[in-house]
Every structure is written in C-alpha cells, then in structure tokens.
C-alpha cells in the first residue's frame, strides 16, 4: 500500500517534469517548422518595407535599443549594486534592496504606459530610441542591481580583510581587490538583463512604436522596428507569408536570447570556479 501510493506520487511527479520540459521543445519545433520556408540568408537582408519578408529592420532596432539599454542601465545598475553591497548598511540598505526588487514586479505594460505618457508625450520625444531605451532600462535595472550586489557579496571575506590590513582606501579596495573577482558575475548579470530586454514587447509598443524602415539616425522622433515587434505586427497580418515571418522573427529572437542565457551561464560557472580558487 505504501509503495503503491509512492508509485502514484512519483508518477505524478514525472508527469509534472514532462510538463515542464515539453513546451520548450514544442515551441522551438513549431518555430522552426513554420518559419522554415523563410530561413535563408535573404531573411536578414530584407526589411518589412512594402510587404518584405525579412527581419533586417527588426534586428537592427533590437541591437540598437539593446546597446542603449546597456549604456543607460549598465552603469547605473552596477553603481547601485555596488552601493547596496559595499557602502550602505542597516535599514537604508535593506530598504534600497527591497524596493529595487519590488521594481522588478512592475508589469511591463505599466512601464510602457509611463514611457508613453511621460517620455513620448510630456517630454515631447515622440516615438523614439531614447524613449524606448529609458523605458526598458527601468525594467531591467533591478536585475543588474541584484546581480552586481550578489557579485560583490560573493567576494571572499579574506580579500577584504587583506585590503583593510594593507590600509587601502575604499576606492582602491573596490577597484583593485573586489572588482576583479566580482567582474564575471557582474558581466553575466548584464548579459542576462540584455536577454530580458531583447524579449520585451509591451514597453516598446508605446515608446518605439514601429517602422518598416531600418532605424534612422536621431535619438528622438524616430519610430523604429524591433524583433518582437516583427513577431507581433506580422502575426496580426492576414497573409501566410507574414505568418511565416512572425515565426521566423520569433525564432531569431529566441536564438539570440538562448545564446545570451548560455553565455551568461558559462561566465557564471567560470566565476564560481575563480571565486572557489580564491578562498583559501
């Protein structure tokens, strides 16, 4: 009786595991299957202009906004993480950390709305790269902060004590002693944040809007395309080719994100090994 009950329990658990594993496989299979007719080099050299079936404008826009997010949220997030890990203490530290984490709970569509009302309208930037970058930065900031914080906190205590014993200043300690071992984890945090930014749609719809052309120069008043937008807008169009394009763009997005996730993971594993060697 005990063993029957156990067997049923584990059978249910195995089904649960299958339910976790199966969707990802099926998603990738579906994307490849539907996108297959479009998967050729010209996909990357064609924009969606005049019904073109390509992701060139989408990729360029996504890369641009990704770079912008890295420039804006990167330094701010790393410094904020540094502050929480190394400078703040007691209650302020707990509060800053808490609210930074809570910021990650703000729905992305709300960030999109705020971006539209404030950046696009009130500040008069129009649909633009700048508005998109600022909105997305708000969204990924908590991840950069959290990973930086964890990176600094995982530096072994012995290194800090050594630095203190040498009488090094705060700045020198951070720059020469703490930063080198913390850097890989900070970088992997940035890579993962970039992956999140690449997959976002809702905040971009109302800050970047959409353009069938390749992104133009100019930070404001320049709507532009992005990969998730190619998925969204093409899927809503009624032709078969557009449908295939939506899946092709989705496949490209997923591959980009998967590469980033794997890269982030490799860097993290390396960092773990490094930190393990430091601990004597």
């Amino acid at each position: 009786m005990r063993h029957t009950r156990g067997a049923i329990f584990w059978l249910l658990c195995a089904i649960a595991l299958a339910v976790i594993v199966f969707p990802l496989i099926d998603i990738v299979v579906t994307l490849v299957r539907v996108a297959a007719p479009l998967l050729r080099p010209s996909l990357f050299a064609t924009t969606t202009q005049a019904g073109g079936l390509g992701v060139e404008n989408g990729i360029l826009g996504s890369l641009l906004v990704g770079a912008g997010v890295l420039i804006v949220a990167g330094p701010i997030g790393v410094l904020a993480g540094l502050y929480i890990a190394e400078f703040a203490s007691g209650r302020p530290r707990a509060l800053l950390r808490f609210f930074s984490e809570v910021l990650s709970g703000v729905p992305s569509i709300v960030v999109g709305y705020v971006g539209y009302v404030v950046l696009v309208k009130a500040l008069g930037w129009g649909y633009s790269l700048l508005a998109a970058v600022v909105a997305l930065s708000m969204l990924i900031l908590p991840y950069v902060v959290k990973n930086t914080e964890v990176a600094f906190e995982s530096v072994p205590r012995s290194l800090r004590e050594g630095a203190a014993a040498l009488g090094l200043s705060r700045l020198t300690t951070i720059r020469r002693v703490l930063l080198p071992p913390a850097l890989p984890l900070i970088v992997s945090g940035l890579v993962l944040a970039e992956a999140i930014a690449t997959g976002e749609t809702a905040p971009l719809l109302f800050t970047a809007n959409w353009s069938d052309l390749n992104p133009q120069l100019g930070l404001t008043h320049n709507p532009f395309g992005y990969l998730t937008g190619t998925v969204y807008y093409s899927f809503n169009l009624p032709s078969k080719g557009e449908h295939q394009l939506a899946f092709a763009a989705a496949l490209v997005t997923v591959v980009m994100i998967l590469l980033m996730v794997i890269a982030g993971r490799l860097i993290t594993m390396r960092a773990r090994r490094m930190t393990a060697n430091l601990e004597v």
Partner: protein, 354 residues
C-alpha cells in the same frame, strides 16, 4: 553640494602608514566621490518605482473622477465614439458612449492568474522533487539550464505558439474531455470554442510562471539538510514518505513566496494573454473556454484607440486600469519578498524569469 552632504556619513579610510598629507586627501576625495556617485545610483531604482507610481496615480485621476465606483462595479468597458459630440459627466468630458467599467477585466486577471499559479505550483514542486530524488546531478544542472531557457522565451513567442499550436491542440483533443467534468464544475461545460480563450491563456501563463516557481523550489530543496532526509530513510520511510514528511514541510514557506512572485508575474503578463485570450471588452464568458480579457491585455489592445480621443479621458481610463494592475502586482510582490526574507537572506531568483 548635496553630493558632499551625502558623503559626510562615512568615516575616512585609514591612510597608508607614511603617506603624505596631500596623498591622503586625494584618496579621501576619491572615496567620497565614489561613495556619492554610488549613493545617487543606489537611489535610482527606488526613484523609478516612486516615479512610476506617481505617474500612474496622476494620469488616472480624471478617470477616477469620471467613473467613481463604477470602475469596479461596471461591466462595460467602452472607449466611446470620437465621431459624436463628447458627453459631460462629473465635470469632465469624455467621448460619446464612453463607459469605464473594469469588473470583467479585474475578474479576468484574477481568474487567469489564479488558475495559472494553481497549476504551476504543483507542477514545479512535483518536477523538482522528481529531479532531485531520482535523477543524477548532471541531469539536475541540465534542467536548471532548461528552466533558464524557458524563462527566457519572450511573452510574444508564447503568444503565437498558444494561438497557432497549443490552443487548437487543446480545443481539439483535451477540452472535449474536460467538458465531462461540466457536471461537477459548471464552467467547464461546452462549447469549447477554437482554443482562444480564458483557459488556454491560463494554461500558457502557467507554463510561463513555472520557471520562476521551479527555480526557487530547486534552490530550496537543495538546502534541505541531508541528515534529516537520511534519518527519515534510515527509519524505514520510503522516498515518497521522506519527501512528504521532511522535504515538503521544509520548503513550504519558500514555495509560498515563490508562488506569490509567480502570481505577480502572471497578473502583469501582457503579450501572450493579448494574443490568446480573445479580447472581449464587454461582459463575461459563458465558460472557461471562451474569450475574455484582462487588465494588462486591455491596455495593450486599446491604447492605440484611446490615443485618438481628444478629451484625454480614454487614456486616463487606461491609466486607472494600469494603476489597479500596478497595485495588485506590487502587493503580491511585497508579500512574496517579505516571506522570502523570512526564509533566506538572498540568492533566491528575482521575479520576471531568467
């Protein structure tokens, strides 16, 4: 000078022995600048959060005045017609026929997210237990990569997958079986529709939330003391009983926290739901299979239309929807993080996947 004021709190670092006075002041100056700059950056996340809340509240005020409690009790959400003369109500103008009753949207949000988290928690816990009890270590690290990848799939991709593959499959093969339960749960009675609706959206949301709950659960299960588990096994308990008596009670509070965080994500999820749920603006679905709508999908789906309204009340109504969504999300997030604080200091995954 504000910058200096902030920096004053720290004690000067001890200068290296034999350093000249000039060097010492340079070092201290560098320390102060670093501290000040980092402090300013440290305030940015809090500032951004406060900014978002303030913008949403301020933008929502006209709609709050316009509809009053009707927002929470009304069943018709309509942006009205911009081709007719605007109407005046409570001293505000709005497009002709505009009505901002969000009750169906609020219910839709709660029903989809609760079904999603209700399924995601047992699936995550079961899957993780299976993994940690039966599979080798190598498979475990493989699955954690798998969960990260699943968390990385964009919402919009879940959306097209749900509409194209998953929804039609469920409507053709699974939902007809579920209608058999219609005698017990009336909302499961047919017709099952084509696969775009409340239930499909909830199921896709469940899949999207699994990585969050499962990653946290895995971290928690890993921390269960080996001695306690070995002790249970030594007492002659089966693996199943050990899991039930030792592992699950040990991780219960942490799973509650993970469930709250996962619920928060399910509440705010937009693009996938926008595709799958079928977007009905007025009224309620007959059963769980048919089209409905949620708060987040309504904002994304109607913002374009609301922009054409020159009175500005439509766009404010969307802000009110966003505000309600924000408040619900922040409350669940707050609660989840408070519970997490009780379980562990940190190192549990944060929110939105990856």
């Amino acid at each position: 000078m504000l910058v200096r004021g902030r920096a004053r709190g720290i004690s000067p670092s001890p200068a290296p022995a034999g350093a000249t006075a000039g060097r010492e002041s340079v070092t201290r100056w560098g320390d102060r600048v670093t501290h000040a700059v980092a402090a300013v950056a440290g305030m940015v996340p809090l500032g951004a959060l406060a900014f978002i809340v303030i913008v949403m509240v301020v933008s929502a005020i006209p709609a709050i005045l316009f509809s009053g409690t009707g927002f929470f009790t009304g069943s018709v959400f309509s942006l009205g017609s911009v081709y007719a003369p605007p109407i005046h109500h409570h001293g505000l103008t709005a497009p002709f026929g505009a009505s901002y009753g969000a009750l169906p949207l609020i219910l839709g949000t709660f029903v989809t997210s609760l079904i999603a988290i209700g399924l995601a928690v047992p699936i995550s816990v079961g899957g993780v237990l299976m993994l940690s009890e039966w599979l080798p270590r190598r498979a475990q690290s493989f699955l954690s990569l798998f969960l990260e990848l699943l968390a990385g799939i964009p919402s919009v991709v879940f959306g097209i997958w749900g509409v194209y593959t998953f929804g039609p499959f469920m409507a053709a093969h699974v939902y007809p079986l579920l209608t058999g339960l219609g005698t017990v749960i009336p909302w499961l009675k047919g017709p099952v529709g084509a696969g775009q609706g409340l239930l499909t959206a909830s199921l896709v949301l469940a899949i999207m939330v699994v990585p969050i709950v499962a990653a946290t659960t895995r971290e928690l299960v890993r921390r269960v003391p080996t001695l306690a588990r070995e002790g249970a096994l030594a007492l002659g308990m089966t693996r199943h009983e050990t899991a039930k008596v030792v592992t699950i009670p040990y991780v219960r509070t942490g799973i509650l926290a993970a469930a709250l965080l996962g619920w928060g994500r399910a509440l705010g999820e937009t693009m996938a739901v926008l595709f799958i749920i079928g977007n009905v603006l007025n009224g309620y679905p007959q059963n769980l299979y048919l089209s409905a709508n949620t708060l987040s999908a309504t904002i994304a789906g109607t913002l374009d239309g609301a922009l054409t309204d020159s009175t500005g009340t439509d766009i404010s109504a969307l802000a009110e929807i966003g505000l309600v969504l924000l408040v619900i999300s922040l409350v669940t997030n707050f609660a989840g993080r408070l519970v997490i604080r009780r379980v562990s200091d940190q190192a549990l995954p944060v929110g939105r996947g990856v």
